[in-house]
């Protein structure tokens, strides 16, 4: 691995200190490293690109890393990764994709993931996306996530995209069983002419199932972000979507909420606010000695990473 490979991997994967259970690193459309453990088995798919990851029941505090890096232009990578998490297992899965493209040809990664959580399973899924390199070629990321949660399972998704990605389209579809909990925290920064769209659909089928979606967006330059969410409550359940956006320059953020209480016992809320940085926040930080640009940076960093 060269310096760029290591730097990209560090940025998208070095996020925790949980002991590693298994790893699958993909570079420019090819697998470059794969390690299994006794409790976590990674099996390559036979008829298409991708892997099945089997996590044994009751496994505690182990991590699976499946980062993808692209360091060339003209790559169009499509990969299918399916996770099968056994009953009462508790694992951290670190995914994400880093594209370093200095060429004039566009590179694209389409990661199609599915999560199948058995009863009582608990997964923390961390997905970091970055784009680097000053080539004119696009750096495009299109993650699709399909989620199937059984009774009393928990899935916590943390998505972070900090600029440089010219275009991203995220699609997440989830179905929650009895007592299942899904939490999604999505933080996205776009700049220049970037576009980023997010589309969530969560169906709460089980009694006492719960979903929380928190989206924080910062749009700079002439970038455009679009956030769509659709919560469908088919049982006595709780769902909350919060979408906050900060606009700078000539950027635009669109938020499209939809909540559908099919069951009269469903409790669903959506809150959205979009606007420029509050003037009183800038003034407060300036009274502490920061100039306007430094104050703006502190506010944005806190908003996205705090």
């Amino acid at each position: 691995m060269n310096r760029i490979d290591k730097s990209l991997l560090e940025k998208i994967s070095a996020l925790h200190n949980i002991s590693l259970g298994a790893v699958n690193i993909r570079k420019n459309g090819e697998v470059v490293k794969r390690e299994n453990s006794a409790e976590i088995e990674i099996v390559p798919k036979k008829n298409k690109s991708g892997i099945d990851v089997f996590i044994k029941p009751n496994l505690k505090n182990k991590a699976v890393h499946i980062p993808v890096i692209i360091t060339e232009g003209g790559i169009d990578d499509l990969v299918f990764n399916d996770f099968f998490v056994g009953e009462n297992a508790f694992v951290t899965i670190v995914a994400g994709c880093g594209i370093h493209n200095t060429s004039s040809d566009t590179s694209r990664h389409n990661g199609i993931h599915s999560f199948h959580l058995e009863k009582g399973a608990h997964v923390r899924y961390i997905e970091r996306h970055i784009g680097e390199g000053n080539g004119k070629g696009g750096k495009i990321l299109n993650p699709t996530t399909k989620i199937f949660q059984k009774e009393n399972s928990t899935l916590e998704i943390e998505t972070l995209q900090l600029g440089g990605v010219t275009s991203s389209a995220r699609k997440t579809v989830a179905t929650l069983g009895k007592g299942a909990f899904l939490r999604i925290q999505e933080n996205i920064l776009t700049e220049n002419d970037n576009t980023a769209t997010t589309d969530f659909k969560v169906t709460l089928n089980g009694e006492n199932s719960k979903v929380e979606v928190v989206s924080r967006s910062v749009a700079k330059g002439k970038s455009v972000q679009k956030f769509q969410s659709n919560l469908v409550g088919k049982a006595s359940c709780f769902g909350r979507v919060e979408c906050d956006g900060i606009l700078l320059d000539e950027a635009r953020i669109v938020s499209v909420p939809m909540i559908d209480a099919v069951s009269k016992d469903a409790s669903l809320t959506h809150e959205a606010s979009i606007g420029k940085i509050a003037g009183d926040e800038l003034v407060k930080l300036m009274t502490l000695g920061l100039n306007e640009k430094e104050a703006e940076d502190v506010i944005i960093k806190g908003f996205l990473l705090g």
Binding site: D244, A278, K284, T287, G289, L290, G302, F303
Partner: protein, 233 residues
């Protein structure tokens, strides 16, 4: 250390003068309390001093330097601090973050603990808490005070610092002001704060009506301010 000369502020339509030709001289290490009825221009005057709003006429001289045209951050970096009447909240910044920004350094736990203890808060309960609307008004007000203490400035300005801190004793608050060892300007109506002032400045309709110790201006307060607020309200 701070002089304001013929300072005026007209609202943008130009027909209402909020602060009118105010001349004041603040000396090193003294405590000044600006008081007066609602709408008398107290908060506007301290905002003008900090540069939060620009004056329409007049000069502000700080340590011999004309700072009238300096930005807020330039004044802050010369040694001025300002505690807001309504503390500002942030999405994503923690109490620890804002105290480190205020003091311009990464403080260890003990240093941050000392700061928060001075305003009656326990560091282990507060340092990791987001500085957002989930904190009560009183908690935010005390953290606002702690930010000023963290800066160790030559000039400290407090706009109605007592509001919302009713569960904390006034004595603790006035002790903070007495122990600052800096020039302190406080906007307040509270008797117990007026009592600790080296000099009280009574404003009325944007003009200085009277300057003196509390007992000297007290006879003018009842007619100018209406009912004066006691320390425990």
């Amino acid at each position: 250390m701070l002089k304001i000369e013929d300072l005026s502020y007209l609202v943008s339509d130009g027909d209402k003068e909020i602060v009118k030709n105010v001349n004041l001289h603040f000396l090193d290490g003294k405590i000044y309390v600006i008081t007066g009825p609602n709408g008398s221009g107290k908060s506007t005057l301290v905002k003008l001093i900090m540069g939060i709003i620009p004056p329409t006429a007049g000069k502000i001289i700080f340590d011999g330097k004309d700072i009238t045209d300096l930005s807020i951050d330039e004044r802050a970096n010369l040694g001025m601090s300002y505690a807001f009447q309504q503390p500002v909240t942030f999405k994503g910044l923690k109490v620890k973050d804002i105290l480190n920004i205020a003091s311009h350094k990464e403080n260890d736990f003990n240093a941050l603990c000392d700061l928060l203890s001075k305003v009656g808060l326990c560091a282990k309960d507060y340092l990791q808490r987001p500085l957002d609307g989930k904190l009560s008004g009183g908690e935010l007000k005390r953290i606002e005070l702690a930010m000023v203490l963290a800066r160790e400035s030559k000039l400290n300005i407090f706009d109605e610092p007592e509001a919302g801190i009713d569960l904390w004793s006034f004595e603790s608050l006035t002790n903070i002001f007495k122990n600052l060892n800096s020039t302190t300007i406080i906007v307040s109506h509270q008797t117990k704060i007026l009592e600790i002032a080296d000099s009280c400045i009574l404003l009325k309709n944007g003009k200085v009506e009277k300057i003196g110790r509390y007992d000297e201006i007290k006879p003018f307060l009842s007619t100018t301010c209406g009912k004066l607020r006691g320390g425990n309200e």
